[in-house]
Subunit: 280 residues, 2 copies
DNA sequence: ACTAAATACTGATAAAAGTCATATTCCCTG
DNA sequence: CAGGGAATATGACTTTTATCAGTATTTAGT
């Protein structure tokens, strides 16, 4: 509760998505909203509608959701709701009740816990094709993390009842979900080990490589394809912002990085990997 | 690989379970082993055999596995292999290939990663009724953690093929597995947040309360029902052994604990909870 | 019960990382 | 494009925690 409000007010953003989600909670299956969305005149919505069908979605080969049997995929297609979030907007908030799952069509999302003292801890970074909001939904709890768009993001929302129903009838999808959860769990447990045992310097190097794995490079082949504040990097690494600032310039001095505002260019990935001191 | 050997040699124990497991890998479905096990004359095995049937197992109301449909449970019953491990014995080792899942009938098991520098990080504590070894099996990888018995432990081993087959046909069990994984994931992500944001003192208090939640008290109602070395507590909290020793005696001085070798008595749970500084 | 080894404990010291204060720069908005 | 707020950067300092060295105690095996 407290966390919720803090979060909203800290970011000083009017949380449209909460309003929208609240509405979706009541009307999500009604034709009204679908028509409303489809009739939206915003030209930027145009290409979203071109990607409307799961069957022709760019993420159809990578997304777990698209491993559902064809018949179910069609049903998901018919009932999903398109949604877009501007950078900084909240998809859902820690403490809220899940109404369904989100499938990222394009964009980037961070998933973060709020620590007891109000400090953010980023637990996952998500990209297009990734599924979102399934953890809370599956364990039947409220969200224990908040999801915030890191850039303009297009999302397909699949209502809870449908998702659960498909999951209960499609063993293959269930299995893929279990794989997904197992992988998440593995990553989380690895992070626990590193957080407990590795110094900040190594964790930062590892995090930068992890960001590279997740979001890749821009066209130039060296610039990380995401803009994160020093604060966000700190909340990802699990340390103080000042430490990140100092270490980033240290890495720069050592010729591993080039820094240009929020742009981070990895100029020597080999040394960075060495700095991460990863055995596996 | 390296980790594997280190682990074995560090504990300087002959790893019977590895030998047994290697055999199980080849012969696990053959009647030979079952007969062999059932004919074992060790009197301590007696009560194990009394608990042989999942349908009458003491854990049948708590274990996820027992939420399988009756027909499948019977099949699991027929094909599972009973096994027992002495304190310190290894159920499986990081890096090994999973041949099935383990259901703890009685006893206690720790699940731990080996950090890059060889330091142990305990990621989960397991008790009777808990399932073990499913993470690696589901994501189709080798084990990324080792499982070691914290005391004499009786385990039912369910072969991989059977487990997967039941999972693929029993949607209800699948769903329970997803819940289990979701809960594990939640706990892991919470641990990440606390590891990143809380001081050692608070983490130790939290860990002691967590141990209490997991294993409960002994008959006296205050002694934690498990014996962990200071080293193991440190590997659970994610800190140095000396810090744990110092903090434990600090807690004792503050009247929260009584210490008697590896016995830990919680004499003031309220203060301990306050020391943990948990908001939720 | 005795011995060797492992574990537990203590103090001194060092290193790592956090905090606080204070520039400086960036970027958004009027 | 100027001004203000936020983000970034840097230095001094403090706190926390790890490490090391040495001693005491417990545990396990013969």
């Amino acid at each position: 509760m407290r966390g919720n409000y803090d979060f909203h007010h800290a970011s000083k953003k009017y949380c449209h998505s909460c309003v929208i989600n609240a509405c979706l909670g009541y009307f999500r299956l009604s034709g009204i909203i679908k028509v409303f969305l489809r009739k939206a005149k915003d030209p930027s919505m145009k290409n979203v509608f071109e990607l409307t069908q799961c069957q022709s979605c760019e993420q159809r080969f990578t997304s777990v959701l698209c491993k559902a049997r064809a018949e179910y995929l069609t049903e998901i297609d018919d009932h999903k709701i398109l949604n877009q979030y501007k950078k900084g907007q909240v998809l859902f908030n820690e403490g809220a009740s899940p109404f369904g799952v989100y499938c990222i069509s394009s964009g980037k999302v961070k998933l973060s816990h709020l620590g007891d003292d109000g400090k953010e801890q980023i637990v996952r970074l998500l990209r297009d094709g990734d599924l979102l909001g399934y953890r809370a939904l599956l364990s039947g709890e409220r969200y224990t993390a908040s999801a915030v768009a890191l850039e303009d993001t297009h999302v397909c929302f699949i209502p809870k009842e449908l998702f659960i129903r498909v999951l209960k009838s499609d063993a293959n999808l269930s299995f893929e979900m279990m794989k997904l959860l197992s992988n998440d769990l593995h990553k989380a447990e690895l992070k626990i080990t590193h957080l407990a045992q590795k110094p900040v310097r190594e964790r930062l190097a590892e995090t930068l490589l992890f960001i590279k794995e997740t979001y890749g490079y821009e066209g130039d082949g060296i610039t990380l394809n995401v803009r994160l504040s020093r604060d966000e990097i700190a909340n990802l690494v699990g340390t103080a912002t000042e430490s990140i600032i100092r270490l980033l310039s240290e890495f720069k001095k050592d010729g591993m990085l080039e820094l240009d505002g929020k742009k981070i260019k990895i100029t020597n990935a080999k040394d960075l990997l060495r700095a991460a001191n990863l055995q596996d």
